[in-house]
Symmetry: C3
Subunit: 427 residues, 3 copies
Amino acid sequence: MLSAERNRYLCQTGPGTPMGALMRRFWAPFLLSSELPEPDCPPVRARLMGEDLIAFRDTRGRLGLIDEFCAHRGVSLWFGRNEECGIRCPYHGWKYDVGGQCVDLPSEDDSTGTRARIKLKSYPCIEKAGIVWAYLGPPERRPPEPALEWCDVAPGQLFVSKRLQENNYLQALEGGIDSSHVSWLHGAALKDDPLFKGSRGNQYNEDDRMPFFEVEPFDGGLLIGARRNAGSGRYYWRITPWIMPWYTIIPPRAGHPLGAHAWVPVDDENCWAWSINYHPNRDLSAEERAAMIAGKGIHVTYVPGTFIPDANKSNDYHMDQQAQAAGRTFSGVARIAMQDASLQESMGAIQDRTRENLCLTDTGIVMPRRELVRAVKANAGGNPVKGLAAADQKVRSAAIELPHGVNFVDGARHGLFAEPKSDPISV
Amino acid sequence: MLSAERNRYLCQTGPGTPMGALMRRFWAPFLLSSELPEPDCPPVRARLMGEDLIAFRDTRGRLGLIDEFCAHRGVSLWFGRNEECGIRCPYHGWKYDVGGQCVDLPSEDDSTGTRARIKLKSYPCIEKAGIVWAYLGPPERRPPEPALEWCDVAPGQLFVSKRLQENNYLQALEGGIDSSHVSWLHGAALKDDPLFKGSRGNQYNEDDRMPFFEVEPFDGGLLIGARRNAGSGRYYWRITPWIMPWYTIIPPRAGHPLGAHAWVPVDDENCWAWSINYHPNRDLSAEERAAMIAGKGIHVTYVPGTFIPDANKSNDYHMDQQAQAAGRTFSGVARIAMQDASLQESMGAIQDRTRENLCLTDTGIVMPRRELVRAVKANAGGNPVKGLAAADQKVRSAAIELPHGVNFVDGARHGLFAEPKSDPISV
Amino acid sequence: MLSAERNRYLCQTGPGTPMGALMRRFWAPFLLSSELPEPDCPPVRARLMGEDLIAFRDTRGRLGLIDEFCAHRGVSLWFGRNEECGIRCPYHGWKYDVGGQCVDLPSEDDSTGTRARIKLKSYPCIEKAGIVWAYLGPPERRPPEPALEWCDVAPGQLFVSKRLQENNYLQALEGGIDSSHVSWLHGAALKDDPLFKGSRGNQYNEDDRMPFFEVEPFDGGLLIGARRNAGSGRYYWRITPWIMPWYTIIPPRAGHPLGAHAWVPVDDENCWAWSINYHPNRDLSAEERAAMIAGKGIHVTYVPGTFIPDANKSNDYHMDQQAQAAGRTFSGVARIAMQDASLQESMGAIQDRTRENLCLTDTGIVMPRRELVRAVKANAGGNPVKGLAAADQKVRSAAIELPHGVNFVDGARHGLFAEPKSDPISV
């Protein structure tokens, strides 16, 4: 249970907030590269941590992320013309380059020096893994590029999607590191879904619904170990890395690609749920890729022309109470991603954590909250923050059976901090 | 005319408000029994006096009305599994019985005692007359079950519907006890509607549009008498009982079933308009029942899958200005229930009573307001409140011709406080 | 750039605001006469400067504009019966004449004097140019009727439309007097639109995109001169009169009818964009009129049954990014009126002028803002206000080539303050 004040402290990410300051230290994934498919293509509206921005790709292919509104009279540059290395406001022709610098101010003689003084807020962008990432923090503290394992695999080994989730990032993130709900909410889906089925781990999840959690720090954040009985003196460990500030990796299931997420604030009441599948040492199969496109596994299908899931709050997520009663789904909502999203959105746009009652199986979310608070304070105090260095991000999830008494990080170290291109350690 | 403060005092019914405290002393009708048709059927969202609740019927048929949100992490139990005598949150499997008690907390060893300490807010429910009623007040002050006449007739003698009205309960209630508008708003409809037509009273209503009101107290609330000329030394009296806090009964028309209402706050800007037809000593005919289902009389037809009338605010109630000009309707809106609802909603979500101008024919709404204020104060002071006892509710409406000089309660007493199963006294 | 306070001062027009007080000194166009086509036709909801009103035409053809809500219980008189020289509330039959006076109060004996005391707020209306105008100011200060040139031409010479624009009046007005955006936003449309094409001025607009502005006062407001090069020692002047408080006239193009606007606050976040074409000395041709009806020139087409453009904010104005890329439109939005409206709405419901950066070409909007502030203060101080007298409004726009060194008002005086029925001075 949190105080209302502590809850706001953790949830608010707009300009000027402490958590916003922490998050602005990191590269934030916010667009699919395919949303800006080619030079001079139409700009895209991008709201990120409460800031209204416009993203575009200029004639030379450079990415721009600048204030949505023209410095002149406040017109949205979404209507702008993206041409000749800049975006031109259609009202009076003011033009900005990817750095937000006004490069043409046709309303005034250039001798006045006005043009040079006009500069929109802008943020650097990079592309990795088919994603456009932005850095909204202080220029002098720009971190190295993201080095998550899935950023560095070949395109054939990777599938990335995003969807809008209509609630605060934190309750989505807390779902991503919460292994205990898997036994309940996803039980039926795990047996059927082509991207999850066929793992012995699913049976352990079903048989032991009261996992014991241990949480261990590492350079990038926390390793959250969920321990279940696996019979004959052994435990089944599902180990979920939480990499600061918003990355999680699902413990693997035998043979399947790994699944990862990023939970990035659009504003305080919406977040991007990035869903990534990758395999470290093989291409995804045609069947796997087709399933991902079809909204299986951690992916969804959409309202056409948007990143809003077609099963969403406005239609009660196509709740099917007959399917629920028959046990075909546990909550009545189909598909794994929307099973999570529906419940997380049902908590309210920002969960009221003054009313929660946490228990032992919530250790895996209590510790990350503390870590977030610590990091916010460290950042405010000018002290080092975890997860910024490339090395911090070199971690993988693992699922492993270990004898009683073995520390899960020790026992799974070869899987967690694995050689590149090695197979995931899974069950 | 009320002060803004007095208006709020009368209209606000949320937790902690004085009027809310009064209303919480009474059983509140909030669901049709058919919304919870059988044991272990899907739960139903129920917002009542500003509280978000979930109603369900457990395996043994018992009714539960509990906090909508799981005590654990705040997930809506609308997604819950209703099974084996409790509703189970689909996120981590916490389960609650009809009393809100957590009966299964699989995330933690039961030896910790946590489970026993987890209890959601819950309210007792009963069923009567095809309705589920809730009691949201202090347990030690739970009143006897509702004993309104329509609660005790055989199912064949009764028809009950509800609709959502998008305004504060008070302006709906004030419509229910306002006999004077009948001459105007419903004039045309009364002649055609199969559940209203054919009464000599309709003619009196039309001929004398300036009724004189007398209001008399009785144990359950007030009897509101509206007096119109009936020729030759006689008055036509329409007597509407208002039974605390939200029940009204329409004065009968010869031979037709009686019509009653309950105006129950969903929150301060919405109310349930319960519409009940019953006959004390005969079954409703097949024709009558068919008319009620077809939205005649005081009933409506709906947006499919909802209790929102299909003619509603979003479509201007299917206003037909040609029908209005031709006199087929007085306001342009068809059907009696929506004629009332459309005008009451047009007053705003909460009528601004600082701008009203009441006159003599509003005596019938002035006195109930005063009575409500008295009752709120009595309740706050620990003093008795009208309408709680079963005997208080044994009253009926009446329509009667009486010689000049006869007090309406005296003259109609045999109809107002009638023998069970006797015919209504009507004209 | 304005302070937040100054921006509110200019934008807020509700009752009790300084700007609202100024605007209430003027006749405000708010309905098409065709919205009240005949005596006793249905009333029309009219929100004007934040006041909710009902307009109706009584049996004798008189116009009424009164409080939307019945003085009795607050029912919307939009449901009222318009009959026998008054509008009758359908709830209890209270009836009001065009002056807001209660003329029938059937709920009470007239001997009580209540009826005579009941009077709804009402405002005088007049009709001119197929428009209903209201005066919301103090009765003793009622100005003469509007005498704009387009008010006095024959019906065959005039075409009037209105559309709802979903933003504050000021950013719409500022668009109307801003000649500099024409070179950019409307460049492509000017060449094709049947009501704009074929003027040499269009070429000057395209060739010189940095007009120099001069602003001169006149009795009705300001004359805003935009000067562009026309070669060989000559300037092309586009002269836009801004007539207090909300009228603008587009500089003419050779042979075409004149185009004028009124930007009238519905409330602080919406305004009526009145669009008027007229020719001072000839009838509009059938082709011209057909084009206007088809939404060409400064007109639009609508969501059926409304004055909301069919291309609107909810559908991103049917933005066509391919047409934009191909140069068929500059902003991607088709049609001149919606090119303006889309950008002005994109600034937000009320533009945040604390973030703007004005430059030389904005002289034409800086001066009117100052003039508005001056007028608000003059009005508050009881001093004379421009634009109220009929003579103040006798002005026209002009487009003219003048030799260098000639003052634009002097050089175009014969066109600006022209003889009635004379041809516009245009290029």
